[in-house]
């Protein structure tokens, strides 16, 4: 059976928004598609595993963000190399911000990011909270819940993940949501994101296997529950 190495970074610090659900979904769908998932956790001060096929990161509390912002700079080069090699990544909320260039907090702190996404985040006063819907070119409609005070702005030629059809997205101003660099995705959508968006999940798996040069034919899964949950998500108010 083909192995799929899933790396979850900072699981103890960045786990505020049900982020474990993304890992569970990726793991289970990999199994259902006939792959053998192997899960690796990376903690502050640790070593990245030799084999990495997909990287996941979640959202965290402000105090946790302070703990990891030094550490993420240490592994930044290695993460850049993985992105260049086409490794798919899903960075949600706090890790999305740290994967950008910088984060200027409300109290004047200038936090340096690792610049995988050419984005800048500025701390806002009002939290942007609600059920969001995002139209993407490659993964269909994405449904999730957003809850963030940071306003993220795309710079230069940085591609967005999609366009909000309901909700605030990156900053509540330009209708963009998230960022995409090669196969790395940054987003404010949680909920968690992957259970309600199986097309995105399966695409992450496909990109991972394609990069390894392994033939991957997704099986037809009975997604009746996610079809219904997506219908329900579509009907929710912001």
């Amino acid at each position: 059976m083909n192995k799929l190495h899933i790396l979850h970074i900072y699981p103890n610090e960045m786990n505020t928004y049900g982020d474990r659900g993304n890992l569970l979904t990726l793991q289970r769908r990999a199994e259902w598609h006939g792959l053998e998932p192997v899960i690796h956790f990376y903690h502050v001060g640790g070593t990245l595993p030799k084999d990495v096929d997909i990287v996941l990161g979640g959202g965290g509390q402000d105090s946790a963000q302070t703990d990891i912002m030094q550490d993420v700079l240490v592994i930044g080069d290695q993460l850049h190399a993985l992105v260049l090699h086409g490794v798919p990544m899903l960075m949600v909320c706090g890790t999305y911000q740290l994967f950008g260039n910088r984060f200027l907090t409300r109290d004047g702190q200038d936090i340096q990011g690792i610049g995988i996404f050419d984005v800048e985040t500025i701390g806002g006063s009002k939290r942007l909270i609600g059920n969001a819907a995002v139209k993407t070119a490659d993964f269909g409609m994405l449904y999730g819940f957003e809850n963030h005070s940071g306003r993220t702005y795309l710079k230069g030629t940085q591609q967005a993940l999609g366009t909000v059809t309901r909700g605030s997205g990156n900053n509540g101003e330009d209708a963009t949501e998230g960022a995409r660099t090669k196969n790395a995705i940054g987003t404010y959508l949680h909920g968690p994101l992957l259970p309600n968006n199986p097309e995105l999940t399966d695409n992450l798996l496909r990109m991972a296997m394609q990069r390894k040069g392994v033939e991957f034919t997704p099986k037809i899964l009975s997604d009746e529950l996610s079809i219904q949950s997506r219908k329900n998500a579509q009907s929710r108010k912001y």
Partner: protein
């Protein structure tokens, strides 16, 4: 003067709201009195001979408050308390004006109020409590609070307003650390080290295997400690004495909450005998929708449990799910439930492996079923309509357990009382 005017006004508004059949009956009198008679709450409460006591925390407020109130009453105290669902300052003003005499007097010795952890400061700005019992700080509705550090800070701020003493959970590292900075005496309650695994702290709910153990609370001497529990029986160390009680209040988390209630009552009534207190604790029955049992028409029993966050859901699963019970889960996404469903993914459902869930219901019935599917737990039927689901569930043979988020619980509780059965 303010006492009379505020009381009469509060009572009149309550009457008017009642006549019009509005559901805002709990908060409307408070809102009107708060606006028109500033300072009403302070004048009314500061004359109570034994003062005001506050119970706060993420989980267990309602049941613990009930325990404290009933133990004090059993010791001859006249206790003023707020009913469930009115734990904001306005709800307390409504309670006070309702319970006062027409001449604006409060015929009570002491007030014991459950306060919402996010709004307790509004109350403590008006009146500093004598004692605060701080139960726990856990991740709760993220759309309301943002994060657990914020929750802990809010609870700690309330705790530090106490004028006579603080009663705090020694096993909650955030609250216990905050209490260390107090200038008033601190009384700790907790559970024996060997029992800690039954009472996971917030950090442990989400940390992954193979990582460093989450930070532990610093060791402190405890006024009350839960030494052991088995079935409904709990044994406590109270000072130098060991006492046991067979509780009617269900759920293992309540063994821990009871330790907090005992510690608070001991602080208020230093002369009370531990054995007597244990006997009084055993008489306390479950609070509204928190482990209440209903007898259904077909002869079976149904237990209704509020689930609010990963900690309370996990405790509920551990306490109530048995291989021979049918289970239904009701999840809504109103403001009082958490609009964000992320929390369902932080609940550890592994204790349900190999069991089938009879029904999921509520506005997020499908999300709940999807969550369980990713843990290989089969849901026999998904019925978003609460009333229809309850009807189907009640018709099933055998005993039942129902987990419900806040607004789903209110609705199901009302239906159960009206139609399906009688509370045991």
């Amino acid at each position: 003067m303010r006492r009379v005017v505020g009381t009469v006004l509060g009572k009149s508004v309550a009457k008017a709201v009642e006549l019009r059949g509005k559901s805002s009956g709990q908060s409307m009198p408070g809102l009107v009195v708060e606006t028109l008679v500033p300072g009403y709450l302070g004048v009314m409460l500061h004359k109570l001979p034994d003062g005001v006591v506050i119970v706060t925390g993420t989980n267990g407020k309602t049941t613990t408050t009930k325990m404290v109130v009933e133990m004090l009453q059993a010791n001859g105290k006249r206790v003023l308390t707020n009913s469930t669902g009115s734990n904001l300052t306005r709800g307390i003003i409504s309670t006070v004006s309702r319970q006062a005499t027409a001449s604006g007097r409060l015929p009570f010795d002491i007030a014991v109020f459950e306060l919402d952890e996010a709004y307790a400061y509004q109350f403590t700005n008006v009146l500093r409590p004598r004692y605060v019992l701080a139960l726990n700080a856990s991740r709760d509705q993220l759309d309301r609070f943002g994060e657990v550090d914020t929750v802990a800070r809010l609870i700690s701020d309330t705790m530090l307003t106490a004028t006579d003493g603080i009663i705090v959970n020694a096993d909650d590292r955030r609250l216990s650390a905050a209490a260390a900075g107090a200038t008033v005496p601190v009384s700790y309650f907790g559970v024996a080290t060997k029992l800690l695994t039954y009472f996971p702290r917030d950090d442990e709910l989400v940390s992954v295997a193979g990582s460093a153990a989450p930070a532990q609370a610093r060791p402190v001497p405890r006024a009350v400690e839960l030494l052991n529990f088995s079935g409904t029986q709990a044994t406590y160390q109270l000072g130098t004495e060991q006492v046991s009680a067979r509780l009617q209040v269900t759920g293992q988390h309540n063994f821990q909450n009871a330790a907090g209630a005992l510690a608070l009552v001991r602080a208020l009534l230093p002369g009370a005998e531990p054995k007597t207190l244990a006997g009084q604790l055993a008489e306390v029955r479950p609070a509204f929708g928190r482990g209440q049992t209903f007898a259904l028409k077909n002869g079976s029993k149904l237990q209704l449990n509020l689930v609010k966050n990963p900690a309370s859901f996990r405790q509920g699963l551990a306490s109530y799910v048995r291989p021979d019970t049918a289970t239904m889960i009701a999840i809504n996404d109103g403001l009082a439930d958490s609009r964000d469903m992320s929390w369902l993914w932080d609940v550890d459902f592994t204790s349900l492996h190999g069991q089938e869930i009879a029904l999921t219901t509520g506005a997020r019935a499908v999300d709940m079923a999807l969550r369980l599917a990713y843990d290989d737990i089969v849901v026999a039927s998904v019925e978003p309509d609460l009333e229809r689901a309850l009807r189907q569930f009640c018709a099933m043979p055998g005993d039942k357990v129902l987990f419900a988020s806040y607004t789903a619980m209110l609705r199901l509780h009302a239906t159960l009382e009206r139609k399906a059965g009688t509370e045991l």
